[in-house]
């Protein structure tokens, strides 16, 4: 099967102008997404994980031309979305829809729920009559678990979970092929998180949706993803099918993220290896040379500063020149040092 979305070497750079810069000074660039590649099959889910500020949202926005990106984003193996003009890309905007991080902020406070959900339909299918549109909105509301009598209410009257359902209904009303969920549950209570993820899974199964599911920790995407991609400072650190990544993580960063995930079973929790990670993520304005993770890596060696790891295996991609499971000696050494 040919992939629905095929991304090659995606880069997003933001020019940074400082106050007091002269118009002719060359702007410095913040390289927010640096050479990301992946394929996404129809109906599958790619989980994208990384700390805050590692470029997850920027990656999502680069894919759909919300920020200027370079590289290649092939849709259904035919069209390169990045080569399209704003007018040409419009039809694709109904095929790729987004769900946002802050459920309430992503809804216009001056519009009723009915108007909000209907907006993509009005934009992409203006020929649909008002009556038909209302019927479809009502149907979609029921589908995501909203009651029909809520249609004339305003976003501020709803809880976070309900607002996210509204956001999902809005995204799905134009029957997209790909849904990009940018941290859809980060702002929600844990009990509500599970409900929203279940809803997304159910909808994905029924509608045959492909999904890019962004989160900042590995536990959230575990349930829903087929493949998981770990980002750090705009680069892919490790990318593998779910089972491989969770059971046999090769990259020290993935291992550190995994060890930070609490395990519900207390015995297993105590037995778990804790992979140490020191310091904070460096500023993306001046990333370290060589491997960008080396400042925090418990396994970093001299050659890590010289060589930029170039992963080649496409099934299990690891951007590390010393990959492999964490050895006890390394853990001990780091704890001592």
């Amino acid at each position: 099967m040919s992939p629905l979305l095929s991304v090659r070497d995606l880069h997003v750079k933001f020019p940074i102008t400082r106050a007091g810069d002269m118009p002719w000074t060359k702007p410095r660039f913040l390289h927010a997404v640096n050479g990301v590649s992946f394929d996404l099959e129809p109906g599958k889910t790619l989980g994208v994980v990384g700390e805050s500020g590692c470029g997850k949202s920027t990656l999502a926005r680069g894919l759909i031309q919300m920020v200027p990106a370079t590289g290649q984003v092939k849709w259904r193996g035919e069209t390169d979305l990045l080569s399209l003009s704003p007018r040409q890309i419009k039809p694709y905007r109904s095929e790729i829809q987004m769900v946002f991080q802050d459920p309430l902020a992503s809804l216009n406070p001056r519009m009723t729920l009915g108007q909000i959900i209907a907006e993509p339909l009005r934009t992409h299918r203006p020929e649909v009559s008002g009556k038909e549109r209302r019927a479809r909105v009502a149907q979609m509301m029921e589908r995501v678990g909203l009651l029909p009598q809520m249609i004339n209410r305003y976003p501020h009257e709803f809880s976070g979970g309900q607002c996210q359902r509204i956001g999902i209904a809005r995204a799905l009303i134009v029957e997209p092929k790909l849904l990009i969920c940018d941290e859809p549950v980060s702002a929600l209570d844990v009990s509500i998180q599970a409900q929203v993820i279940e809803l997304l899974k159910e909808l994905q199964r029924d509608l045959g949706l492909a999904m890019i599911f962004i989160a900042h920790d590995l536990s959230v995407v575990k349930n829903i993803s087929d493949e998981v991609m770990v980002l750090y400072l705009g680069r892919v650190m490790e990318k593998a099918p779910k089972a491989l990544l969770y059971d046999n993580p090769q990259h020290p960063y993935t291992q550190a993220l995994l060890s930070a995930v609490p395990i519900p079973d207390p015995v297993a929790e105590r037995a778990k290896q804790i992979v140490p990670m020191t310091g904070d993520m460096p500023s993306p304005m001046n990333p370290p040379s060589g491997c960008v993770f080396r400042g925090r890596c418990p396994r970093a060696q001299a050659d890590c500063a010289e060589v930029v790891p170039q992963p080649d295996d496409d099934l299990h991609r690891v951007a590390c020149i010393h990959p492999g499971p964490m050895r006890d000696s390394e853990l001990a050494q780091h704890a001592a040092g």
């Binding site: 759909i64 919300m66 890309i89 419009k90 905007r93 109904s94 829809q97 987004m98 946002f100 991080q101 802050d102 902020a105 992503s106 809804l107 216009n108 406070p109 001056r110 519009m111 009723t112 729920l113 907006e119 993509p120 934009t123 992409h124 029921e142 589908r143 995501v144 678990g145 909203l146 009651l147 009598q149 809520m150 004339n152 209410r153 305003y154 501020h156 009257e157 709803f158 809880s159 979970g161 309900q162 956001g167 809005r170 134009v174 409900q195 809803l199």
Partner: protein
């Protein structure tokens, strides 16, 4: 789909029509005593302008030959003569003239504010939404216009094209939109960064529709507040021009023109000629300021 208990509770207690952000603001506004008083005052002034003529015994043009020449002795306010507010220096009924002047002043204020709202909002929202070079050019243009001494231009216009009420409306409108455009642009910059605007852009909603459907409705609070402050400003501008003798033409008059006349004759002891127009002028301004204040509090509850 199984309903959560949370949804079921909400479903039973809130069926039907939504509580819009406007309804909330209205409730807060009506709880504000000062704003309510402003509304009553303004309501009184407007009613006076609209229906005052049916109470008047005289028209605003008729000369009362009985009082002519003895204005100081006979032209004062009195119920018997039918001159409730007295007469002016020529023996014309001041009540009818104040009604007429209030009409003109309110109209100038409303038209000026309306033009400011429409032109200023669209201009500012377009500049702010598109940003970049469009924004720089549009806002520099406003800066340049603002540097021109507008009173001078307005007076020049009135001298060149003759004193007509159309020129006055046009002139007042022409100068009033620029400050509005600046305020709206600033607000647009913050609103366009909000996630719901990004959501609309991501689904492919076109720029004009985003401006009209997503940006402007979220600006209405600011616009409403600023407009209520603009109306008095417009009335003041018109009054100043009338005070200089360049405003509306006889037999039409405005509060500013009446105050000017009244101030000219105060030395003879005809205090009512200044007092009554001034009273209505002040009532209008107070009413509008209180309403503006109340609106600001009602629309941004966080601001206090």
């Amino acid at each position: 789909m199984v309903m959560t208990s949370e949804q079921r509770v909400e479903a039973t207690e809130i069926a039907g029509k939504g509580r819009s952000p406007w309804a909330d603001a209205r409730r807060r506004f009506f709880r504000n005593k000062a704003a309510l008083m402003g509304l009553v005052i303004l309501g009184f002034v407007v009613a006076f302008a609209l229906f005052g003529n049916s109470l008047a015994q005289w028209s605003n043009e008729e000369l009362d030959y009985n009082v002519m020449g003895q204005i100081v002795e006979l032209g004062g306010p009195s119920i018997e003569s039918g001159h409730y507010f007295g007469t002016d220096d020529l023996g014309r009924d001041l009540f009818a003239r104040t009604v007429q002047g209030t009409q003109i002043s309110l109209a100038v204020g409303l038209v000026g504010a309306l033009i400011a709202c429409i032109v200023g909002t669209l201009y500012g929202a377009v500049a702010g939404y598109f940003g970049g070079r469009t924004d720089s050019i549009m806002m520099r243009l406003v800066d340049i216009f603002m540097a021109v001494p507008y009173m001078f231009v307005l007076i020049l216009l009135l001298v060149m094209y003759g004193r007509s009420i159309t020129i006055l409306f046009a002139g007042v409108g022409l100068i009033s939109w620029m400050e509005m455009a600046r305020i709206v642009r600033g607000q647009t910059l913050t609103i366009k960064g909000r996630e719901f605007v990004e959501a609309a852009r991501a689904t492919g909603v076109s720029a004009p529709v985003i401006i009209l459907r997503h940006i402007v409705p979220n600006l209405l609070g600011v616009i409403a507040v600023y407009a209520t402050l603009l109306v008095p400003l417009m009335i003041l501008t018109e009054s100043f021009i009338s005070f200089l003798g360049l405003g509306v033409q006889e037999p039409l008059t405005s509060l500013g023109a009446l105050i000017s006349e009244g101030a000219g004759t105060i030395a003879y002891g005809t205090t009512w000629q200044l007092g009554f127009p001034l009273l209505f002028f002040c009532l209008t301004l107070f009413g509008l300021f209180f309403i503006g204040d109340g609106l600001r509090d009602a629309l941004d509850p966080k601001d206090r």
